[in-house]
């Protein structure tokens, strides 16, 4: 009596797959990559296609006639101003996040004991995941006229920034800060102590060691963090609407045109942040930022 047939069938199948590793690979990757390409990249392609079509001015519906007009519309002053404003905001938020993240990341990576380090990683992770909307909402409470900030500053005769671009800069910095701390911490943790000691042995002071050894070695990690701060700022339409409703940013503008409805124009506009982030990702990959993620 041999083994039951079901089992031998399974064995046979296993052996056959063992002999055909390519096929096994296809079975493993086929479903996830197939779904991703079909749904995600397919959707991006459909959006891209819409940018070449026209909009019926009366119904607002898409007419499938080829045009390049939507791309010419990108050159209009409003769009350029809004894009530049968003880029300046993203850059300011990225720099602020990096400056704030450096001391805490350094402390976590190189000063704290392993136990404290573990606790601090959790302490940084939790606000990152805590409800995004509620974080915005909490800043509405802080920045409002009779909110906490004005209450705390009034004894000094000062006032908070209120709702506007400065407030938005603060809120974005708050929202994306953990995304900068975590890769930076991982990057600083990887610097071998011997390198820092060598720098000191060669006579470098703290500041020189920081500028010429630590900072260059932390670049991939900073770039990795900045992918998040940049992409999240460019793709956000809720935070600007809530904190700086008088000012348009690229996310709001795209959403507004989508809602007109003018899908072809919104699609063409969406290609701008998309192109910026993809370029950014490709450069980041060259700089080794993906190993730092």
């Amino acid at each position: 009596m041999g083994p039951p047939p079901a089992r031998s069938f399974r064995r046979g199948l296993a052996a056959w797959m063992e002999r055909h590793p390519r096929l096994r690979l296809l079975l493993l990757l086929g479903l996830p990559l197939g779904a991703l390409v079909l749904i995600y990249f397919g959707s991006l392609a459909i959006l891209f296609l819409n940018a070449f079509w026209q909009r019926d001015t009366f119904t607002g519906l898409v007419q499938r006639d080829f045009t390049l007009e939507n791309f010419l519309d990108l050159a209009r002053p409003v769009f350029i101003t809004v894009t530049l404003r968003t880029l300046v905001m993203a850059a300011a938020v990225t720099l602020t996040c990096a400056a704030i993240a450096f001391p805490i990341s350094y402390y976590m990576a190189r000063v704290a004991s392993p136990r404290v380090r573990g606790a601090m990683v959790v302490a940084v992770l939790m606000p990152l995941w805590a409800s995004y909307l509620i974080k915005i909402y909490s800043w509405k409470l802080i920045l409002s006229e009779d909110g906490v900030l004005n209450w705390a500053l009034s004894p000094f005769g000062l006032k908070g920034p209120g709702f506007g671009e400065v407030g938005l800069w603060l809120v974005f910095t708050y929202l994306w800060l953990p995304y900068m701390i975590l890769p930076l911490f991982a990057g600083l943790e990887r610097i071998p102590s011997s390198v820092l000691e060598a720098s000191a042995d060669l006579g470098a002071r703290t500041w020189t060691t920081f500028r010429r050894v630590i900072l260059p070695l932390a670049i991939p990690a900073l770039v990795a963090g900045s992918i998040f701060t940049f992409s999240l700022t460019l793709g956000d339409y809720i935070t600007p609407g809530q904190i700086a409703s008088g000012r348009q940013f690229i996310g709001n503008l795209i959403l507004a045109d989508f809602g007109v409805p003018n899908l072809p124009l919104a699609a063409a506009e969406a290609l701008v942040p998309l192109a910026i982030i993809i370029t950014y990702l490709v450069i980041a990959r060259r700089l080794g930022a993906f190993d730092a993620l």
Partner: protein, 273 residues
């Protein structure tokens, strides 16, 4: 002595400065969140600072609010669905990439990370346009599909990190001892992956539960908890409930993440079944 001072954070002053800055950053990160929690129990039910007293009235009101409860349950259901899809697709992709060598291997990670790293407004609009073009309905299923596209990478990253750490030698030993590849998966590979899959799944749940930027485009009238909160921003008579909903939203994203970090910090994965 000389390099003690030169290496940042080793000198006494440098160290103190770092500690102060670190604590300041932690306070900056936690103060706004604790504010919402404080308001959830604020007697006056308005947003004026300081709070006037402690009450459970709003928690009670939130528990009895039909719209809020429905939104909460919808979000839990969607997050479970998206997590399930992400768990399967992410694990499959991680096993494929970790245990095979092939052309374009690095590209797979790059492709999987794209949905989470491209601007949310673009992803949302692309998915919404696609559903409209293909005449597929918006709603719960559309949200699950949308969330799954960017949740996959969370499971994938966790599982692939684990598979890279536990080398393939145990699997080879299993094969040498006569196990076929299904037995090796069941008794060797899967037990090693299990906690990593779970950790990735918890992160996926937290992300999906919290998502609004993409959800907004594909919801088609379905109210998730974030959409309910967002719409209540404008309603003055619901501010007290928003605080409680916020408390719930914070807990349901923070607790899974806390468990996930516990699961992955445990490095002794080999030898436990």
């Amino acid at each position: 002595m000389r390099y003690d001072r030169a290496v940042m954070g080793r000198g006494r002053i440098g160290r103190l400065g770092l500690l102060v800055a670190t604590i300041a950053v932690l306070i900056f990160m936690y103060l706004p969140l604790s504010l919402v929690i404080a308001y959830a129990f604020n007697k006056s039910g308005t947003q004026t600072w300081p709070p006037t007293g402690f009450t459970l009235e709003w928690v009670n009101a939130a528990l009895n609010n039909r719209g809020l409860k429905d939104a909460f349950m919808t979000s839990v259901g969607i997050a479970l669905g998206a997590t399930f899809v992400a768990m399967i697709l992410g694990s499959l992709a991680a096993m494929g990439v970790a245990r095979h060598r092939f052309f374009g291997r690095d590209t797979v990670s790059f492709l999987l990370v794209l949905p989470i790293s491209l601007p949310g407004v673009v992803t949302g609009m692309a998915l919404s346009t696609t559903f409209a073009t293909t005449d597929l309905p918006l709603g719960v299923m559309a949200i699950i599909v949308g969330h799954a596209t960017f949740c996959v990478v969370l499971v994938y990253n966790n599982v692939i990190a684990r598979l890279r750490r536990v080398s393939g030698t145990l699997e080879e030993a299993s094969a040498d001892l006569g196990a076929d590849s299904f037995q090796t998966f069941r008794f060797v590979t899967f037990p090693q992956m299990r906690t990593a899959i779970l950790a990735g799944a918890l992160l996926a749940f937290a992300l999906s539960f919290d998502e609004i930027i993409v959800t907004f485009f594909v919801a088609g009238g379905v109210k998730t908890l974030p959409i309910w909160i967002f719409q209540s921003f404008r309603l003055a008579n619901q501010v007290a409930l928003v605080n409680v909903a916020g408390l719930a939203a914070i807990l349901l994203s923070v607790i899974p993440v806390y468990i996930a970090t516990r699961l992955t910090s445990d490095s002794s994965t080999v030898g436990r079944t």
